[in-house]
């Protein structure tokens, strides 16, 4: 028990002292027999005051410290550091909030505010009285990162992690790397193609001995925690021998004989592909793959190509890593049937299909056998929905649609673009594209939530009728050959990985970071990081930026070989525990498991997973769990002081 406690009451300029009589608080506090010293101060956080506190601790040999000032969110670490500098354990320091929770809240009743402040400070003193010196705990960590998803964010962060000295397991569910980026041809503002960017990254990955790439691989289970995650990965084979050298002529013959035709996801269903496939000739890895789900093993291809090997088996690997980085990307929004004529009016496609269509058509732009010259774009489909689920803006689509319009005009003759938008958001340098499109004669018509354009069929193609508010709401008819729905980003439909890792999901259904500004690439699950479009809609530049931030963050966490954790954890008294299992059920972090102890089954907390949230404490029927730093005796004595 501490009995030489120093108490400092801050005036915060006049923020506190205008409403709380700090002198009165000081006197009331002095009456406590465990308090050795009590002072008021103009600014507790000022450098001079910090020095005074430190010398008081040393000279008077204080064993506890209480500062009554602002929220601990602001200055907890400031005063903990004062304690450390003076040789006092930082966990013998208690911060009492008499500003946000007292003076500001009760500025109309200064007398009552003073009374409340006295009680709050007394409670703090009682907590300090029972406080225990604690040490941060250290756990060992593997300098290995599992990166899930080999799109542009995953590939770029893998290279960065490897260069910083971490081992990387890069796990890709598809048989080829590149993700969405490899589906786009020319990229906006830089002009290079998505596949060029991916080829460059792939070369770097292959030549880097710190990176191991797994394709056709999926995470199936997780155990362990930060520093030592154990991840089980299921690997589906390509059914082609790894030493196969691709001979395009032979491959084309194999494609001919394969009788299976499935919708080509790479081209967003614009055409069909075979069960043996490669999305484009220069795709990586170089060897084609056989789609496990649709192949019937008819054996036609084997007759032509002995390198095809149906003996290959599904494998399961156990990987150990200190940290995980999720870069699982996005799905394009799939419009509902009838949404702006999707699937109910002919020649209505999505922006992503349009991008593939441009790549598939070289000389003339043809859709459904019809030559296209008048193209309309309807913006914000699946984004900024006031009634629907997706309230957010998908960020990349305005620029992407305008850029698509520009490259369509460059590639084909007699193209006229119409942009039915809800306000153009081509932020930053992308604004130049908007200017370019506009100058070149693209027509922009704006609509609002309550005046959405109507889409009908006019015999030849889709007809859009829109109220143009820039001509006082005149109804304008636009006859088109092709209508493109500028669909935004939604989280991946496939969410198994987030269930396994228990990554928190935000209201927008994307993965949630701890703090959008201060901790933008970490999740509340220690050691699990997020980057790219799985977190929120991002363009390629933004995805890569977040990927590099996440790589740096993950590397700095695990590269020292050990990780420091806060000592405020739950601890289970094994002699009291009767293994009811209630704590295991309620724990949001999977941090409690059962172990054998003295011949009985009891619960035990995994220190590296426990976040000290305290959820398990009230549910224990035996009252066998204590939260270090917030033990029953500390809390009870605080309550006593308050009432």
């Amino acid at each position: 028990m501490k009995n030489k406690i120093g108490v400092y009451i801050c005036q915060c300029g006049s923020n506190i002292s205008d409403y709380v009589d700090v002198e009165k608080v000081k006197e009331a506090v002095m009456a406590e027999d465990v308090v050795l010293l009590s002072k008021t101060t103009m600014f507790a956080c000022a450098d001079s005051t910090q020095k005074e506190m430190a010398s008081d601790i040393k000279e008077q040999n204080l064993d506890g410290l209480v500062v009554a000032s602002c929220s601990p969110k602001l200055h907890l670490y400031t005063f903990r550091n004062v304690a450390i500098r003076a040789g006092l354990n930082p966990y013998n320091y208690v911060q009492v909030n008499i500003r946000e929770q007292c003076s500001w809240a009760h500025s109309d009743k200064p007398k009552d505010a003073t009374e409340k402040a006295i009680k709050l400070v007394l409670a703090g003193i009682h907590r300090a009285k029972h406080s225990v010196a604690l040490k941060k705990q250290k756990i060992s960590s593997e300098n290995t990162v599992i990166v899930v998803g080999a799109g542009i964010a995953g590939m770029r962060s893998s290279i960065e992690l490897a260069n910083m000295g971490s081992q990387v397991y890069l796990i890709e569910r598809e048989h080829f790397v590149g993700g969405r980026t490899s589906q786009w041809n020319e990229l906006f503002t830089t002009g290079e193609t998505g596949r060029d960017v991916i080829s460059e990254l792939y070369k770097q990955i292959k030549s880097n001995s710190n990176i191991t790439l797994f394709t056709g691989a999926e995470v199936v289970s997780k155990s362990g925690s930060v520093g030592n995650f154990e991840i089980q990965v299921k690997i589906t084979p390509r059914y082609i021998k790894p030493d196969c050298e691709l001979d395009m002529e032979k491959f084309e013959k194999v494609l001919e004989v394969c009788p299976i035709e499935v919708e080509d996801d790479f081209n967003f269903g614009l055409n069909k592909r075979k069960a043996i496939y490669k999305n484009y000739p220069s795709e990586f890895p170089e060897i084609p793959a056989i789609d496990d789900k649709t192949c019937t093993r008819c054996g036609e291809c084997v007759k032509l190509c002995p390198e095809i090997d149906f003996e290959q088996k599904v494998e399961t690997l156990n990987l150990i890593a200190g940290a995980i980085l999720l870069t699982t990307g996005f799905d394009p929004y799939e419009p509902k049937e009838g949404e702006f004529g999707y699937k109910t009016v002919d020649s209505v496609i999505t922006l992503q299909q349009m991008k593939r269509l441009i790549e598939l058509n070289n000389k003339e732009l043809i859709y459904n056998g019809k030559k296209i010259s008048k193209i309309g774009y309807i913006y914000c489909v699946g984004s900024r929905q006031s009634d629907g689920e997706n309230k957010y803006c998908s960020r990349y689509c305005c620029t992407s649609a305008i850029h698509t319009g520009i490259i369509t005009k460059e590639k084909y003759k007699n193209i006229q673009n119409f942009h039915f938008n809800r306000g153009i958001r081509t932020y930053g340098k992308q604004e130049l594209l908007y200017h370019e499109a506009s100058e070149s004669g693209d027509v922009f018509l704006q609509f609002f939530d309550d005046t959405t354009p109507s889409i009908t069929m006019n015999g030849k193609g889709p007809k859009v009728i829109i109220e143009d508010f820039l001509t006082k709401g005149k109804e304008i008819e636009v006859d088109l050959d092709l209508l493109v729905l500028v669909t935004g980003m939604v989280p991946r439909k496939e969410r198994r990985i987030s269930d396994i890792l228990k990554v928190p999901i935000g209201r927008d259904k994307f993965y949630n970071e701890i703090h959008p500004k201060l901790r933008p690439v970490e999740t509340v699950i220690d050691g699990v990081h997020i980057a790219g479009a799985c977190q929120s809609p991002k363009n390629i530049t933004e995805s890569v930026k977040s990927a590099l931030a996440a790589a740096a963050k993950a590397n700095s966490l695990i590269s020292k070989g050990e990780i420091e954790l806060e000592p405020t954890l739950a601890i289970i008294d094994k002699s009291k525990c009767k293994s009811s299992g209630d704590c295991i059920k309620i724990c949001p972090y999977d941090a409690i498991r059962t172990v054998e102890h003295d011949g009985k089954t009891v619960s035990e907390v995994n220190n590296s997973s426990c976040k000290g949230c305290g959820m398990c404490i009230p549910v224990c029927p035996e009252n066998a769990i204590q939260l270090i730093g917030y033990t029953d005796i500390e809390i009870e004595s605080m309550i006593e002081a308050l009432i």
Binding site: S438, S440, G441, V443, D468, L470, E475, I476, E477
Partner: protein, 352 residues
């Protein structure tokens, strides 16, 4: 309901529009325009009509004529979409649409056609001189006659029918109810605007340009009167002779300033010049200058031996009277005044 027609931009470009597609409808042009009002709001609206290609709306509108092109809108446009020049292009386009012969459009849109027309008229004058064996008296008599006949013919065959067409497109076709008496009540406005263009004074920093313009109009019209009615080239009356000298000097001196500002391109309004603009100012200059020199030749008794000087003047005169007045920029003077008149009619309250 109106059908969108982005190809209209291509058509307007032929009439001299510059980059108006870059407009993002911020409305700065309309805000800075000192002539634009809540009722008659421009140029943004006209830019929008042009982007969407709403020709019916444009043809029905008098707004292009309400603008006197001070250039402030183009100066303040954040997208350099040149709204002022678009208004100018729309005036040319409307001139072509009002003209029943279709020649206006042809001459505006095609420089080769304009040049051919100028050459053909010049050849006609020379051919006629041959025909008359270069008889000075006969040719100068014909010149005087031509002035009178061409004024009467151009007015009755081209200009009056075109103004009637303009009236039909902007007033009758709009099914606006205009009280019959209003046509008489507003006639004074028509005359005042025609001769003073007083609305142009409301443009910012436009006093000097307006004054220049006023002096030029008075000089030109009185020179017309002096040569046609008072027979300047044939008279012995000293007063009339001096009057003609002053008037013709005014015309060519003021036009020199107009030409030089188009060459310097310092002012916003002089940045873009279509062939029709050049023809107008240069031919006006030539008209005043050659008239002045012809009279000097007469007074020095040189004209008998130097008929070529009169032939140059006659060629300029014929080109002016048959090409520029009926089909070129000269008509803007008429259409603008009538636009003001029609606008007044449309705003006249209808008695219940």
């Amino acid at each position: 309901m109106a059908n969108i027609n982005p190809d209209f931009a291509i058509e307007l470009k032929k009439y001299g529009s510059v980059n108006f597609n870059a407009c993002y409808n911020c409305g700065t042009c309309t805000a800075v325009c000192s002539l634009s009002t809540e009722e008659d709001s421009f140029p943004r609206e006209m830019v929008r009509y042009s982007v969407l290609g709403l020709e019916d709306e444009i043809q029905a509108s008098l707004k292009p004529w309400l603008c006197y092109y001070c250039g402030e809108c183009s100066e303040s446009c954040p997208r350099t979409a040149n709204p002022g020049e678009l208004m100018m292009a729309l005036r040319r386009y409307l001139t072509a649409k009002y003209d029943w012969t279709g020649l206006s459009g042809l001459l505006y849109k095609s420089l080769p056609m304009s040049i051919i027309a100028f050459i053909v008229t010049a050849i006609a004058v020379i051919y006629y001189s041959f025909y008359e064996s270069f008889n000075v008296e006969k040719i100068m008599h014909f010149g005087h006659l031509f002035e009178m006949i061409s004024i009467a013919a151009v007015f009755s065959i081209i200009l009056v029918p075109n103004i009637i067409r303009m009236w039909w497109m902007t007033v009758l076709k709009q099914k606006a109810k205009v009280p019959f008496t209003a046509y008489f009540k507003s006639i004074w406005d028509l005359i005042v605007h025609m001769f003073t263009q007083k609305r142009a004074r409301d443009c910012d920093d436009n006093e000097f340009r307006w004054l220049e313009h006023l002096v030029l109009v008075i000089g030109y019209l009185s020179l017309l009167f002096t040569t046609v009615v008072l027979d300047w080239f044939g008279t012995d009356n000293l007063f009339i002779i001096i009057l003609g000298y002053i008037e013709s000097a005014i015309v060519f001196i003021v036009t020199v300033d107009f030409v030089s500002s188009r060459i310097k391109q310092k002012k916003e309004i002089a940045k873009f010049s279509q062939p029709s603009d050049w023809f107008f100012v240069i031919w006006l200059f030539l008209l005043g200058f050659t008239a002045f020199v012809v009279r000097v030749f007469i007074d020095l008794n040189l004209i008998e031996t130097n008929l070529w000087m009169y032939l140059i003047h006659l060629t300029v005169l014929v080109q002016w009277a048959l090409l520029i007045v009926p089909f070129g920029k000269w008509t803007h003077f008429l259409y603008r005044s009538f636009a003001m008149y029609f606008d007044k009619l449309l705003k006249e309250p209808v008695k219940a």
